[in-house]
Subunit: 146 residues, 2 copies
């Protein structure tokens, strides 16, 4: 288990990959983002995207899965107050394989609570062509070593 | 169908509500955010949260569902380049009923494409106690009237 003290500015972690199927794109979007470009193949073909694309929230969720498994679940993570500069940079289409990496931008101890610190990080998700499809800058709360 | 020209700065739309069950919290998190506070009831009880809480991405997805159904699907939406200031303000717990509203902050026509404009908006999601649980500021691309 890694704690706040073990995380260094400049560290970069590769987070593995995840293939997004057409069935999963539709299933996610029918539940959480039922816009025609995500759930209606004929309408999506007629749209500016020329075919079904994943909900941006689905792309984010896939990258969160990679971040959880590749970083946070080995770390004393205590949640997150939020993020900034979430950007959807290119469409994600059925069959795309996304990979992600996270880089540590800044660390600072909590001023009010001795048991935790804040870790600012930048996540980038890419498709199999190497094109960036999503990025964000988040703050995570990480427990200090007891 | 509403177009870019129909959307006015200051407009505020109430987006309806959605109840988040424990089963859905676990199902979402097992797929996309398998951290103990979201999927492991015993570990969550021992955490700073004192029980299972929804993934922040699940809370966002629920609000996106409300935004899609209550606003975007009646609008000539063409996607979004991204958002800023996403904040998770309070935990979402099993059985919570979330409601959301969106307010139009700014509109500007695209300089490079005559068929669209950009609509900046702020979404706020609240629980049944009236506590804000999430907020973000997004830009949506909205088609102009043909």
């Amino acid at each position: 288990m890694r704690h706040y003290e073990d995380i260094a500015v400049g560290e970069r972690v590769e987070l593995g990959s995840y293939t997004v199927t057409k069935a999963e794109i539709r299933e996610f979007a029918e539940q959480y983002d039922p816009q025609p470009i995500h759930v209606d193949e004929a309408a999506a073909r007629e749209s500016v995207y020329g075919g079904l694309i994943a909900s941006g929230w689905h792309t984010a969720a896939v990258c969160m899965r990679l971040l959880s498994e590749g970083f946070l679940n080995e770390t004393a993570s205590m949640g997150s107050p939020g993020l900034d500069e979430l950007r959807w940079l290119a469409p994600v289409r059925p069959g795309d394989t996304l990979s992600a990496s996270v880089e540590i931008l800044d660390t600072r101890p909590s001023e009010s609570r001795e048991d935790r610190g804040y870790v600012k990080n930048r996540l980038v998700g890419r498709n199999q062509e190497g094109d960036d499809v999503i990025s964000w800058e988040a703050t995570n709360i990480i427990g200090r070593r007891p």
